[in-house]
């Protein structure tokens, strides 16, 4: 039986001084994680927060849990080892866009493919912050940085496409400043048995300020994004008068309710558990200004996890095998006595 633990977010704050730049989006994400963990029924010592390298990867030092600040790009691999070694643990991986998708791209896709039950939070600020402002694999095409003075000629990755391409069972997106949304997503991600990928659009106040703000500015924000909720119609806009539906070719289009005979009934209902990822893929791909940016949980399907399968194999072999100890193995097969 799960024991109930009464925590407040404060219980998850370490005694270390937080050293991100004033105004950094990471503060909001730290608060969101601490809030999420306080709402969950697991003992503090069962959390392991694993990060790579980058501004965001300082994260474990600020959490009063077990933490491991590792090396660049390898957080997913280390987190995979932690979870496989002890499936009882709740493992949270913290990586930036460079850490997860450039140097760590291989581990990112393979961890998802294996469905290792960890929560992967990707802080996407579309820039290398710790090295002081070079373009990253998610920087917008043409982005001028110190290493792309004329603007980048590289097409960016979309986190969702990589994740879904690796068959992610859980993908969600949030924004650093939306602590309520982030913490509810993180809570669900930890509870969901799968590699749960959360892309948090994070603002680097120094090197890429307001890169996500175009769709989130105060004036128009409600028209520029949609918070998806399972089982609800995909309606958004200041006046709740816009929605998403599939056109005749099966592509998502934005429509106005009340115009051209369109009613609420025509609007798509979000189904996070749809095994077919095609609508999830389209939702995740929606880019401002053509489309509203999709926030919330986009995909959440059930599947067996790596550890569940491995433990099953181990238990099955334990039952079947005549080897109960190493000595049984050493003396098995062909042996002979020398008198």
């Amino acid at each position: 039986m799960t024991q109930q633990y009464k925590y407040t977010p404060k219980d998850f704050k370490s005694d270390q001084e937080v050293r991100w730049c004033p105004g950094c989006g990471d503060y909001g994400i730290l608060n969101s994680v601490q809030k999420a963990l306080a709402s969950l029924p697991y003992p503090k010592e069962n959390y392991a927060v694993i990060s790579g390298i980058g501004c965001s990867s300082r994260f474990p030092y600020y959490m009063n849990t077990y933490g491991f600040h590792s090396i660049h790009g390898r957080a997913a691999a280390i987190a995979s080892g932690v979870k496989t070694a002890n499936p009882e643990l709740k493992v949270i991986q913290i990586s930036g866009d460079g850490d997860a998708l450039a140097i760590g791209g291989n581990h990112f896709i393979h961890t998802i493919r294996r469905n290792i039950d960890i929560t992967m939070i990707v802080f996407n600020n579309e820039i290398y912050g710790l090295t002081k402002g070079q373009y990253s694999p998610t920087s917008k095409l043409g982005k001028q940085t110190k290493t792309s003075p004329e603007g980048t000629i590289e097409k960016p990755f979309r986190v969702a496409e990589l994740a879904l391409g690796a068959r992610a069972r859980f993908f969600a997106r949030s924004l650093d400043i939306n602590i309520k949304l982030s913490s509810s997503i993180i809570t669900e991600a930890i509870e969901h048995k799968s590699t749960a990928v959360i892309e948090i659009l994070q603002n680097c106040v120094i090197f890429n300020d307001k890169t996500h703000r175009a769709f989130y500015d105060k004036e128009n924000k409600l028209n520029n994004f949609i918070i998806l909720e399972d089982g609800k119609r995909m309606i958004f806009g200041k006046n709740h008068d816009r929605g998403l539906r599939l056109d005749d070719n099966g592509f998502i289009e934005v429509v106005e309710i009340g115009k051209n005979g369109i009613t609420e009934e025509d609007i798509l209902i979000h189904d996070v558990a749809n095994p077919n990822p095609m609508i999830h893929w389209q939702l995740a791909d929606m880019a401002y200004p053509e489309y509203p940016v999709a926030l919330g949980i986009i995909r959440k399907v059930e599947d067996k996890t790596y550890s569940e399968e491995l433990e099953k194999l181990i238990n099955a072999k334990k039952e079947k095998s005549s080897f109960k100890s190493v000595e049984d193995v050493l003396t098995s097969g062909e042996t002979w006595e020398v008198e």
């Binding site: 370490s14 270390q16 003992p43 503090k44 010592e45 069962n46 959390y47 392991a48 694993i50 990060s51 390298i53 474990p60 030092y61 959490m63 009063n64 849990t65 077990y66 933490g67 491991f68 600040h69 590792s70 090396i71 390898r74 691999a77 280390i78 987190a79 995979s80 080892g81 932690v82 979870k83 496989t84 070694a85 002890n86 009882e88 643990l89 291989n106 581990h107 393979h110 491995l310 194999l313 181990i314 072999k317 334990k318 079947k320 095998s321 080897f323 109960k324 100890s325 190493v326 000595e327 193995v329 050493l330 003396t331 097969g333 062909e334 042996t335 002979w336 006595e337 020398v338 008198e339």
Partner: protein
């Protein structure tokens, strides 16, 4: 008139089975080895196969060989030169003639000496007919057609017939050495239990080969090697890679910690991962990672989570693991890294042996990054050193690199199975739940920190690759602290010397000439030294298993020698390391870099050439 077979008693003999890589020579060789071992001979074996799974048939590049040395005394190597060569085609003959002894018996499959195969092997004329083999005793047998004839009663295809011809060669060799067929019979019964009449087919051909020898008396001599006088106990044969895997398994049981192995397949280390994957019932978890880096990183994660963690690899893989190995040094987590060395650099010679990763193991990380480096020296002691690698890493909280090599990893020997009761205890440094925990608080004697892992209540802490403050483990950029921590990490590894045995000398302690080797060259160096001692020379051997730190008596051993010759399968890496440690000692060197082990002959010559 019936010829009389003369039985020659031999001390030891070297046999090499050789054929196309699809000819089943590895199986033939291992069967002969097992039969000899069961009879009580001491054995040492070495498979030699091409990097390609199916190299072009009939070519030199596609030749696969299996050499074994059987003796009535301890044999330490698979032997330099073959006394008996079985060559299943012209390419196998041509590829092996250089390493065949004068007057050797050569058994060839005459049917394979077709014009096409002769040309493919690079001969201009049939070597069986041009007198070029006069110095050998050639037994030319139409093995393919005799195999076909033997199987006339079976309704089977040509491919199945062809695939069983190795059993004919094995049967004939059994006859030559007066060996029993019983072991191979029961092996075939077991292996092909569910494969219809395949076992019966192979047994039939095995007998056809044996009976052919009996009926035709193909040679005038039989060779008999009496059982060796070996220590009482239960024995089995074991390869180095198997022994490595089992040593780790023994350690996990003794330490009472689950074993986690994160690895990426790489020749010649893959076997270790495969052996471990086969024993899930002992709670062993193997993780076939997406690359070498993920192999070591998953292992580091498992170590952080409280498992006995291992990663296995070969040279190129060790290069890829470099940065993560440094993380294990910095976080002072237990981790065993096993490098089965092969020819380098780059992809190099994947299936051939070499000792050229030594300096990579000692120094190959950024920053001052000391860890324990040790090396196994025989197939069977891979068990011991894998065990001690785990013991040292768990008790001293520092990663260990264990070096083996392609030669001992694939080689096999009889192994006296140790009782788990007599294997020393392992006491991991796990933190206590009822004491205040500081991640970098150290043991006074060993300087090892304590290990607390997720799930342990109240011991929550953070570690990582950034320099940490002494004792508390908080991130620290303080100049003085970095000096203190660097010195502590160095001192901690140096103090491991207190936990390892003194370096042993084989031969007279004060011999004027000391041969120095390390790792897998042991068998060849010891055989050379023993033979020279028998011949009246004043020479001894120090074969190192503990490289970093060195055993405490090392400096003493180098005192007052006329000559110290460091022999290695590289261009002088241990020599360079020793010169750094003992700058006033005059070391000489003997090196070889051909992807092959030393031969006893060349070592003896090198020693005799010393002035």
């Amino acid at each position: 008139m019936e010829k009389v077979i003369k039985v020659l008693e031999k001390d030891h003999i070297v046999i090499r089975f050789s054929g196309d890589s699809g000819d089943g020579m590895q199986l033939t060789g291992t069967q002969f080895a097992a039969t000899s071992a069961l009879f009580g001979n001491d054995i040492s074996t070495f498979p030699d196969y091409p990097a390609e799974i199916r190299a072009p048939q009939g070519t030199i590049g596609g030749v696969s060989g299996f050499q074994l040395h059987i003796g009535q005394k301890t044999v330490y190597t698979p032997g330099d030169f073959a006394d008996v060569l079985v060559a299943m085609n012209p390419a196998a003959l041509r590829a092996n003639l250089k390493t065949v002894a004068k007057n050797a018996v050569i058994i060839v499959n005459k049917d394979a000496f077709t014009a096409k195969n002769i040309e493919k092997a690079g001969y201009t004329e049939n070597p069986l007919e041009n007198g070029s083999l006069e110095q050998y005793k050639v037994i030319s047998v139409p093995i393919s057609s005799l195999t076909k004839e033997a199987l006339s009663e079976f309704d089977i295809d040509a491919k199945t017939i062809d695939r069983s011809k190795n059993m004919f060669a094995l049967g004939l060799t059994y006859w030559l050495f007066e060996k029993e067929l019983t072991h191979t019979d029961s092996f075939l019964d077991k292996k092909f239990k569910k494969k219809g009449n395949i076992a019966a087919i192979n047994k039939k051909v095995l007998r056809a080969g044996y009976n052919y020898g009996e009926a035709t008396h193909v040679t005038a001599n039989h060779y008999v090697i009496a059982p060796a006088k070996i220590k009482k106990g239960t024995y089995r044969t074991i390869t180095g890679n198997e022994a490595t895997a089992w040593g780790l398994m023994a350690a996990t049981e003794k330490a009472n910690l689950p074993l986690f192995c994160g690895s990426y397949p790489i020749t010649p280390a893959t076997d270790i991962l495969q052996y471990l994957a086969a024993y899930k019932e002992l709670g062993i978890k193997t993780f076939q990672a997406e690359d070498e880096i993920a192999g070591i990183c998953t292992a580091i994660g498992a170590s952080f989570a409280g498992n006995l963690a291992v990663t296995t690899t070969s040279g190129p893989g060790l290069a890829l693991k470099t940065e993560a190995a440094g993380l294990a040094v910095m976080t002072e987590l237990p981790l065993v890294i096993i490098d089965v060395q092969r020819g380098g650099p780059s992809t190099g010679l994947p299936t051939k042996t070499e000792q050229s990763d030594l300096l990579q193991a000692i120094h190959g990380r950024n920053g001052e990054s000391p860890l324990i480096v040790m090396a196994a020296s025989t197939p069977t002691n891979c068990f011991d050193y894998a065990y001690y690698a785990a013991k040292l890493t768990l008790e001293h909280m520092t990663p260990v690199i264990l070096l083996t090599d392609g030669f001992i990893a694939n080689g096999a020997e009889p192994w006296r199975i140790p009782s788990m009761d007599v294997i020393p205890e392992i006491k991991p440094r796990i933190a206590s739940l009822d004491k205040e925990y500081q991640p970098y608080q150290r043991d006074e004697k060993t300087l090892a920190r304590e290990w607390a892992f997720p799930g342990m209540k109240g011991l929550e802490h953070r570690i990582g690759g950034l320099e940490k403050e002494n004792i508390t483990g908080h991130v620290s950029h303080s100049p003085l602290n970095h000096q203190i921590m660097s010195d502590l990490r160095k001192e901690k590894v140096e103090r491991v010397a207190d936990s390892i045995p003194d370096q042993k000398i084989y031969g007279k302690d004060n011999a004027e000439t000391l041969i120095v080797g390390w790792g897998g060259t042991f068998g060849h160096l010891l055989t050379a030294v023993e033979q020279l001692v028998d011949e009246g020379h004043d020479v001894a051997l120090a074969q190192f298993n503990y490289i970093h730190p060195l055993p405490k008596n090392t400096k003493e051993l180098f005192k007052d020698r006329k000559n110290i010759l460091v022999c290695e399968l590289n261009q002088g890496q241990f020599l360079e390391y020793l010169r750094g440690q003992f700058p006033h000692v005059d070391f000489k060197q003997y090196n070889k870099l051909q992807g092959l082990p030393f031969t006893v002959k060349e070592i003896k010559e090198a020693i005799l050439n010393l002035k």
